[in-house]
């Protein structure tokens, strides 16, 4: 097995190992389009809104949006790379916040018990999603649409049953200073602490997806599920893990929001479904799987958040931001297609 390694000629090794540094090699990466998109919207809002959205208060406004969205967008993007969708996150975010609020706020139990319960709920729902996708073979859009509505019903029903309302308070004294510090403080009065979580999680994801050997498995699963399985990859276990990751991440974002805003509402997550998919697709992930990058998803998330918040710094009416997002989505997908084709057709020397 290893004796073949030595056989490689040194000249060949040099040619195949060193990544050529040319502008072209960067354009062929999945995040190329997302980076250009990010620069374009930044420029757009600089021209029409001035530098306000780059001042600390402005930066906080879009970073806060980006962080909560980003924490769910990355696992949703990984699932998309693996060839599946998860829209049940729209119910898991309120499920996470309602769980902590009901247990710690309404039930006066320990905040740590409440947090553990919210995360455990994420693990359970993720496990159900992954197992259903594996066992039934029904397209994951439909499976997770089922769990989306089912979880909405469960959250609403239990909330009314336990508290009699659809909005539960979680006063700061119930959260306690430590949980408030970790999950629900404003750093410098404006920056939500989830931004720190987002950065830490992104670093972990970048390592595991692009540098550790496991990342390779996710791309292989999205590229050709059967070949990946034939190559010895535990595709079913990976699928369940990815769904657990996305449902738990959504529950985490929900619990952070409840602790931050001192309250939770039943209906506070549906917009995340589309927003996460937009961030992921703008970020260069191929909707049909097999191609994408974590850093691209981060760029896509930032782009989305800047458009979403930047509009407030211009003279335009807020309603126009949806138009920009729609146009941007189409432009980004077209651009990503061009770059992907460049990557496919690339060969170092044309003969």
């Amino acid at each position: 097995m290893t004796d073949r390694t030595a056989a490689a000629s040194p000249a060949l090794a040099r040619r195949s190992a060193g990544r050529a540094f040319s502008p072209g090699s960067h354009l062929r990466r999945p995040e190329a389009g997302a980076l250009l998109g990010l620069l374009a919207v930044t420029l757009f809002f600089l021209v029409f809104g001035g530098t306000g959205f780059l001042q600390p208060a402005g930066v906080a406004s879009w970073l806060n949006v980006a962080a909560s969205l980003g924490i769910v967008a990355i696992p949703v993007g990984l699932l998309m790379i693996a060839g599946e969708l998860d829209i049940s996150i729209g119910a898991m975010i309120p499920a996470g916040s309602m769980t902590v609020a009901i247990i710690a706020g309404h039930g006066d139990q320990s905040i740590w018990l409440a947090i553990a319960a919210a995360l455990a709920l994420g693990v359970v729902v993720g496990w159900i999603n992954g197992t259903l996708v594996n066992v039934t073979g029904v397209p994951s859009l439909i499976v997770t649409m089922g769990t989306l509505f089912a979880m909405q019903g469960v959250v609403l029903g239990l909330s009314v049953l336990f508290t009699g309302t659809v909005s539960v308070a979680l006063p700061p004294e119930e959260s306690g200073p430590v949980a408030k510090f970790l999950f629900g403080q404003f750093i410098g009065g404006a920056f939500q602490v989830v931004i720190v979580w987002w950065i830490l999680l992104t670093a972990l994801y970048v390592f595991y997806v692009h540098f550790s050997p496991w990342g390779n498995w996710i791309f292989a699963m999205g590229g050709d599920r059967e070949s990946a399985r034939n190559a010895g990859i535990p595709t079913r276990r990976m699928m369940v893990l990815l769904y657990i990751l996305s449902a738990t991440s959504a529950a985490f974002v929900g619990l952070c929001q409840a602790i931050l805003f001192n309250s939770a509402q039943v209906s506070a997550g549906m917009s995340y479904i589309f927003n996460a998919i937009i961030a992921v697709v703008v970020g260069g992930v191929l909707l049909t799987g097999g191609f994408g990058s974590v850093i691209g998803i981060v760029f896509g998330t930032l782009t989305f958040a800047i458009v979403n918040q930047g509009i407030y710094f211009t003279d335009f009416d807020r309603n126009w931001s949806s138009l920009i997002i729609g146009v941007m989505l189409l432009a980004a997908v077209l651009m990503n297609n061009v770059f992907r084709r460049m990557a496919l057709n690339y060969s170092p020397k044309r003969t």
Binding site: S212, W217, A220, G223
Partner: protein
């Protein structure tokens, strides 16, 4: 040929998918340094049989013996660990992955230690590029290129090169020459002979009599999931083998039918 236990043996293997019986009572032996050609019509069950050998499917009945000892493969990984490498009929490569990453899917080389082990891109690229170049595909010299940019035959060569690289004891090739040019097909046959010389057991599926006769020591013909003939090199004529491969029909009749169709138009 040898008195030793066969390297790999199937005993009374049957397989059904729900109500459909695909394989019935298959018994086969392959010794080290021997090539078994598995022949048969479309849908005869050849791919299903080798999927059982490579751990993709579990047999409904019967057992697999490796070196005379019964083994059960719970997953393709198990079969790989036992030194069985398979090129499946379709796929085997990942269009949007780089050549180096595609080559090592599931067996990624790493450097570093513990939780900080990282994929060794340099080593993966070097080995993968060398392996396909050994195959006569000299147009490839950059392991970072995406597989989807290669031609169909180049992709198939990459899949075969991968199996040859990881096949320590048994090499299974399901119609490996289907998409290949004359030169590359000849190279696959050379590879099979080379693997045989190194003492591997090779199972080779093909629809081309010439290819089968060029490398086969031992032939098994499947017709509708059962072994219809099992013979050694030189025991049958080329015409007899061709007839068996056509599912037992006499090739001359089939040719006559084709002629007839021509005459009608």
């Amino acid at each position: 040929m040898t008195a030793a236990a066969p390297l790999i043996e199937l005993r009374h293997i049957s397989k059904s998918f729900g109500p459909i019986d695909v394989l019935q009572d298959i018994s086969l032996k392959v010794h080290a340094g021997e090539v078994l050609c598995l022949l048969g019509d479309n849908g005869a069950g050849k791919s299903t049989l080798i999927k059982i050998l490579s751990g993709v499917h579990r047999p409904s009945a019967g057992e697999i013996l490796l070196d005379g000892r019964p083994v059960a493969f719970a997953s393709p990984k198990d079969a790989q660990t036992c030194g069985i490498a398979t090129v499946h009929q379709f796929g085997g490569t990942f269009p949007l992955m780089s050549i180096g990453r595609s080559f090592f899917v599931g067996v990624e080389p790493t450097k570093g230690w513990g939780p900080f082990r990282v994929f060794d891109r340099k080593r993966a690229n070097t080995i993968a590029v060398q392996a396909v170049r050994d195959f006569g595909i000299t147009r490839i010299d950059d392991g970072d290129r995406l597989v989807g940019g290669l031609s169909g035959g180049e992709r198939q060569s990459l899949a075969i090169a991968r199996a040859v690289h990881f096949g320590a004891r048994v090499l299974i090739l399901d119609e490996p020459t289907a998409a290949l040019g004359v030169k590359q097909a000849a190279h696959v046959l050379r590879i099979i002979n080379e693997a045989k010389r190194r003492g591997l057991a090779v199972i080779f599926i093909t629809h081309q009599v010439t290819h089968a006769m060029a490398v086969g020591d031992h032939f098994a013909v499947l017709i509708r999931g059962a072994i219809a003939a099992d013979f050694r090199k030189g025991e049958r004529t080329r015409e007899e083998i061709t007839d068996l491969m056509a599912g037992g029909e006499i090739m001359a009749h089939i040719e006559a039918a084709i002629e007839g169709a021509h005459a009608d138009t």
